[in-house]
Symmetry: C2
Subunit: 205 residues, 2 copies
DNA sequence: AAATAAAATGAACGGTGTTCAGTAAAACAA
DNA sequence: TTGTTTTACTGAACACCGTTCATTTTATTT
């Protein structure tokens, strides 16, 4: 049945076409300002067509959501060859922040948007990649404890706290709550705060 | 000129009427789902009337923004009678998180929404209250350093890091990125992570 | 009481996400 | 090849949104 195969392939290609256009527009001009009609224009199809491939706008966002987590996980994997677990942990944090600063719209989608979540509450599998990423953090924290870097055996609480800190720093920047600093000093200040955090947990947790 | 006075009073009352309705609806059903028409219905006026008192939806949000910061600052003031600066600092953090958990929509407006910011970039005074709140944090950190709790003299970096952590914890919850935990365990887990953070900075910074 | 000024209206504009009857193209059956 | 069925696509229409503005209602002044 070569025909059904081709059909499937074409369907996948169309989804990709839509997703690529959506990503381009989202990254360029943000989620709020990108409409289904914009995406339809971009790929030279009618708005209705998009609904033949995606149930609604949320589902479209979710494909991007997943893709974005894959990208973050890729970044995290760059860290796996670092021997020392503490060094590995802190570098991971730096990559996390870098990812957020460099891909604001994707970070928004992954950690800041509420709309995709609401529609999807039933589909728990959506968080699989998110959980994978968090498990990577937990694993490293575990190793730090085993290696004696952290004195208290609390993987869960420590991981959560570390995530909250880097996430907080990224979010403060993405939502432009840094007006107390000069524009060109904002990211450096946040990076500095992170280094303060690293010093803090260094051998003292 | 009793009449102009009354007019002014009436204008202020009308603004208050609109704001109260807006707050009620926002807190009840969120910002996204509250439209100008909803607010107009609630106060039994036509949609156009609202635009006689508020330039646009952003300006309405900003009045609420300011009010919400006042409320947070009030919470912070409850802490001022605590003698020990470290105890004062950590209690402030607890109040901050509590405020976020109990007033999700207001917290959203203060720290998470992007729409009000964009429209207002010119009006720097909007951040005055935000800066006041942050300055309260800085002041306490300063006192902690003076009292010898923190060894490194870096008010800015330390304050930023502390804010980022509590803000991160609140945000993770508000944006429902805690699906790895059972529903009734989510807030306790975040509070636990905060206590881990407190232990971390206790005499070790 | 008439003229003027202020306040409130609600239809209209251009936008949004989404649906669906209708059309065009492709696949299948004869 | 022709006719029929299945599939793909269209674009007008629906109900909403924030916002504007000519018009009407209400209040104040002359």
């Amino acid at each position: 049945m070569g025909i059904t195969e081709r059909k499937e392939r074409e369907k996948a290609e169309m989804k990709r076409l839509i997703m690529d256009a959506a990503r381009r527009l989202f990254v360029e001009q943000g989620f709020e300002k990108t409409s289904i009609r914009n995406i339809a224009d971009e790929i030279e199809y009618s708005p209705g067509t998009i609904y033949l491939y995606y149930k609604d706008k949320s589902e479209l966002l979710f494909d991007l959501h997943q893709e974005s987590f894959q990208k973050l996980i890729e970044q995290f994997q760059r860290v796996l060859n670092i021997r020392d677990p503490f060094e590995r942990l802190t570098t991971m944090g730096r990559y996390y922040m870098q990812y957020g600063f460099e891909n604001p719209e994707l970070y928004e989608l992954m950690f800041l948007m509420s709309s995709p979540i609401e529609t999807i509450e039933c589909r728990e599998e959506i968080w699989e990649d998110g959980h994978v990423a968090f498990e990577m953090l937990r694993q490293i924290v575990r190793e730090c404890i085993e290696a004696g870097y952290f004195k208290i055996d609390d993987v869960e609480g420590t991981s959560m706290m570390i995530w909250a800190t880097v996430h907080g720093l990224v979010t403060i920047h993405l939502r432009k709550r840094t007006t107390m600093f000069r524009e060109d000093e904002r990211i450096p200040r946040l990076e500095h705060a992170y280094e303060r955090f690293v010093e803090l947990i260094k051998g003292k947790i």
